[in-house]
């Protein structure tokens, strides 16, 4: 590996973690604000909603995307054994880091207090949107100029081998990413950036929301599938050197089901929106149930692989093999097991609670309450983030040519995180679903302030429990950071070799149909487009009376009065 590529990979791991420090810091502030322990609108010059924007954008857009590119680079490099191209990697690096800095500037200077969903007519400075576009473009560059050409070259040399499973998962994930960013790019380029620059004076906010969620649901699978790649291909090998993946075919089937059904589901985020017929919402609810299927298949395959692998270590019987899993083990790379295992435990809860959100009319009891962040902190804040943190540390140690430092702390961190998340998510979910505790709100200023006429004492207990959870989460993260920076600043002990513990399958079959990625990609695009035509038609035709001008978060007066739709507004008799 050349020094340049090594620098790129290390920085693609270190930079997201540096940003995540701010993300987690503000996560802890959020629970304090919400419980009224911090009774203020800002701390150290960062306003609650500004910080919440940073928390969302850093944690789930920047950290995830850059890590996923680094992980994909590593997997492709290791399994296809072809060098990555310097020019393509540098282009990608400059675009991603440059874009991140641009958006970060807008957020840190308070010019983008719009949260990570950036719903118009609230509008941010154009650099915020432009930075996100650059980040996304940068994340696609290696896919086109390194991964695909390297695979084609590998295939020419290995005509009768299947694409390695880890590469297959990485490719499915980036194909999905490529499809899903199209609608949000349309929103950014044709609606938000022109509105922000003042080129247009008004836009259709419901259309913008619909385009956003066309991207916004599949993106959660973009965060999840890299973790699934680790569960399928690496978890068995971490349990035992003789560990095996239970079924290669089932794993590929799950990835293909995700490719097909992750897209026609975005309306489940708009169940309570006006202007879209509820029949289309029901169809999207149906596909949402379908996309739960591959996660259930994964639950089976991963459990079966764990059982098989634990039995290679002498585990016996129906239950006793559970005692042979390396829960807290420090030899070699076994510490990584604790990240994947703790993530799995949280994801079990995340999957079940996700079925609640997805359940059409049941959503009315939880929509936009604290239940929703309670749920997704066990998915993206659970399995995804733990798998990514663990893999970041793993790759860092390989790229530095050293053992992981403070391994004990690193091994405990995911369990403490899980315990913290149990308490945090329990508080948020129960308070949200049963008492209507809202999300996205600095409740400490009003609802949880005993001096306010809006005081709601029934929310106090939940908010306080979430503080306890938040502190455990922070403690876990500090343990991780000690180990991470200890490893980063330690000197080289052995050869630098980026390798992964990849398990062989127990059951395997050629499954040529599953491996035809091109055909599945076409089918997925067709299904996604068909599922969105009626909803997009609704948002542009029926129930919409006029467009909206832009607002900033500080004033109820539009930034610029509307010209074009002013006429339409006059026509409407009031």
């Amino acid at each position: 590996m050349s020094a340049g590529i090594r620098f790129i990979l290390i920085s693609e791991i270190v930079i997201p973690i540096l940003l995540l420090i701010f993300g987690v810091y503000h996560g802890v502030l959020q629970v304090l604000y919400r419980a009224g322990i911090i009774n203020a609108s800002s701390v150290l010059g960062i306003d609650y909603y500004q910080g919440l924007t940073l928390h969302g954008v850093i944690n789930v857009i920047v950290f995830t995307t850059i890590f996923i590119v680094a992980f994909g680079n590593g997997i492709v490099l290791y399994l296809l054994k072809k060098p990555l191209r310097g020019w393509s990697q540098w282009t990608s690096w400059v675009l991603m880091i440059g874009g991140t800095l641009m958006s970060a500037w807008a957020m840190f200077t308070g010019k983008a207090n719009v949260l990570y969903t950036f719903y118009p007519p609230l509008i941010a400075h154009w650099t915020f949107y432009f930075g996100l576009v650059l980040l996304v473009v940068g994340s696609l560059v290696p896919f086109f100029f390194d991964w695909i050409p390297n695979y084609i070259a590998w295939k020419r040399e290995n005509p009768d081998k299947k694409m390695p499973l880890a590469v297959f998962g990485i490719f499915v994930n980036h194909i999905l990413w490529l499809i899903m960013v199209v609608p949000v790019a349309v929103e950014l380029i044709f609606q938000l950036i022109p509105l922000s620059l003042g080129i247009v004076t008004d836009i259709n906010p419901l259309l913008a929301r619909t385009l956003f969620w066309f991207f916004g649901h599949p993106v959660v699978y973009f965060w999840l599938l890299p973790a699934y790649v680790m569960l399928y291909t690496m978890l068995p090998k971490l349990i035992s050197p003789k560990g095996k993946l239970y079924s290669d075919t089932a794993a590929r089937l799950a990835f293909i089901l995700f490719l097909m059904f992750s897209l026609p589901v975005g309306l489940h985020h708009q169940f309570t929106d006006p202007g879209i017929s509820n029949s289309w919402k029901l169809i999207h609810a149906f596909f949402t149930f379908l996309v739960a299927l591959p996660s259930m298949v994964t639950a089976f395959t991963v459990a079966a692989s764990m059982e098989y692998s634990a039995k290679q270590e002498g585990g016996k019987g129906v239950f006793y093999w559970w005692t042979k899993l390396p829960y807290i083990r420090l030899e070699g790379d076994k510490w990584l097991f604790s990240y994947l295992f703790a993530g799995l435990v949280l994801f079990f809860i995340g999957g079940i609670t996700g079925i609640v959100n997805a359940s059409y009319n049941v959503n009315l009891t939880v929509h936009n309450t604290a239940y929703v962040p309670g749920h997704f902190h066990t998915t993206v804040g659970g399995l995804s983030v733990l798998a990514f943190l663990g893999m970041s540390l793993y790759m860092l140690s390989k790229l530095k040519g050293t053992e992981v430092k403070f391994k004990g702390l690193a091994t405990l961190a995911p369990y403490i995180w899980t315990q913290g998340m149990f308490m945090f998510s329990y508080a948020m979910m129960v308070g949200g679903a049963l008492e209507g505790f809202p999300r996205r709100t600095n409740t400490g200023l009003s609802y949880l302030n005993p001096d306010s006429p809006l005081y709601r004492p029934e929310w106090v207990g939940y908010a306080q429990l979430s503080v306890v959870g938040g502190f455990l989460l922070a403690l876990a993260f500090v343990f991780f950071l000690i180990s991470f920076f200890g490893t980063l600043f330690s000197s080289r002990q052995r050869n630098i070799e980026l390798e992964y513990p990849i398990a062989e399958p127990l059951h395997d079959s050629p499954a040529p149909v599953l491996n035809n990625l091109k055909a599945w990609t076409v089918a997925s695009v067709i299904l996604a487009v068909l599922s969105y035509i009626p909803a997009l038609y609704d948002t542009t035709q029926r129930g919409i009376f006029y467009n909206s001008p832009a607002y900033n978060d500080k004033s109820p007066v539009p930034i610029k009065p509307i010209k074009s739709s002013g006429l339409k507004k006059e026509e409407v008799k009031n």
Binding site: P205, P274, Y360
Partner: protein
């Protein structure tokens, strides 16, 4: 695929189909349904409570930065118990949320569009309403109330 795996997949499909069946029954049979596309109501700019019959009301709510106009600028309304209310909701500026606690009324207020839900207030009491979508610096103070007597 081996037998255990096939059984697991059948079980998963069966469970999901059962849940989905219940949802469709609740939506179309019990009429616990989601907001849909409303085209027959003109957009409005002021809140209004209109009584159609002793226990039938129409409530026009305008969400704006940073209060709910429930009835000519007021942020609360009173209703007799047992009333059936048709709620129409719109926004005058940015996106807002509208959640009436202890009911199934949970709506987004989107400018340029009218949202709708019907609710029956069987029990007397104070029904708290909060805005649950970020709408600017005054968001955490945006609340309203329905008093059912």
């Amino acid at each position: 695929m081996d037998r255990a795996e096939r059984n697991a997949i059948f079980l998963a499909v069966g469970l999901l189909a059962f849940f989905f069946g219940l949802i469709v029954y609740a939506a179309r049979g019990l009429k616990i349904d989601l907001p849909t596309c409303i085209t027959d109501v003109q957009p409005f700019k002021t809140g209004q409570l209109i009584q159609h019959a002793p226990d039938r009301y129409e409530l026009h709510v305008v969400a704006r930065m940073w209060f709910f106009d429930m009835n000519k600028g007021q942020t609360y309304v009173e209703l007799p118990r047992g009333s059936v209310v048709d709620i129409y909701l719109t926004s005058a500026d940015v996106v807002h949320g509208f959640h009436i606690n202890d009911t199934n009324v949970n709506l987004m207020a989107i400018p340029g569009t009218v949202n709708y839900a019907r609710v029956k207030f069987d029990n007397p009491g104070e029904y708290h309403i909060v805005c649950h979508e970020f709408c600017g610096i005054g968001h955490q103070d945006m609340a309203a109330k329905i008093l059912v007597k």
